[in-house]
Symmetry: C2
Subunit: 181 residues, 2 copies
């Protein structure tokens, strides 16, 4: 379970409030781990109770920003978790189930959906490549930036895979549409 550790990482990069975290989860970190604001607030409270983070701003009830920073215990916990072994999660994708279903029940509208997915993956790929071009233009980089670059490259690789796969799938499904319309 990664959310608390994703939050610790984000807060170590820069202390901030729940809503700011939500914003950052819509961008960089959130490209690879999403969280809604409810999850974030719930988790921040829990992390505070655990003594891993602490609020910076003076208390102010609702509607007021509460910035958090990581305590030594939180940093230690993050270090512990980062080195912990983790089984790779098996693939799990609805599209594969749909393709198997198509194979059994015959042609459906599935190819339309895949065409739209292809467009979305191309868009995402363009975005990642743009970020890469902007943030990692040269070769030699610090350890931290090399690791950040690596994570971004995972995004590029994954979106590239999806683009390739969608095209393959469309080829199979569309050929079939022609043969037996």
């Amino acid at each position: 379970m990664s959310l608390p550790h994703a939050l610790l990482t984000a807060l170590l990069e820069r202390p901030c409030s729940g809503s700011e975290l939500a914003g950052r989860f819509d961008r960089s970190i959130g490209f690879f781990w999403q969280a809604t604001h409810q999850q974030i607030y719930r988790e921040l409270k829990r992390l505070e109770e655990l003594g891993w983070i602490t609020a910076l701003e003076p208390e102010a009830g609702r509607g007021r920003k509460r910035a958090y920073q990581v305590l030594p215990a939180g940093r230690e916990e993050l270090r512990r978790w980062t080195g912990e072994a983790q089984e790779p999660k098996p693939l799990r994708d609805e599209l594969m189930v749909r393709l198997r279903a198509e194979a059994v029940i015959g042609p459906t509208d599935l190819v339309r959906d895949i065409e739209s997915r292809l467009a979305q993956h191309l868009e995402k790929l363009a975005l990642y490549r743009e970020i890469e071009r902007r943030d990692f233009p040269d070769g030699a980089d610090s350890r931290q930036r090399e690791l950040q670059h690596l994570v971004l490259q995972a995004g590029v690789m994954a979106e590239t895979l999806w683009v390739d796969f969608c095209r393959k799938a469309i080829a199979v499904l569309a050929a079939d549409y022609k043969n037996k319309p």
Copy 2:
């Protein structure tokens, strides 16, 4: 939500009981959608209540196999669902969170874990290639088999990506270990 439709697909391919389904979910279908036996039994009951499937064998209480087959309403539901639009799920991987954490808190044991993942992905890749060699040796195939092959190819592509990525990650992390041990 795919489980009911994965079950409908599996039962259309061949009617069978909960435990047999669990077995099949450990193999072919389960390479891309996993389910525990509890999920399967719970869901079979629900599908029966919905009138999408029906038990074949005479009732026999516990400890006795109950085979199910799909009813026309179930087939119709599967067709409806298969053509339904579906947003591509964003990437979500703990390893990326760990890499970001490593970037912030400095070297940990993470590289050991990635080495072990690499081995597992290589194993899985070999398995998929072996299945491919055995089940899809020639070029020309029926629509159904082309689609099944396509899904298997997704597995090959995904595992290949992971192998590449793990190697890249190890290169970055190991180089760093040497520079600042």
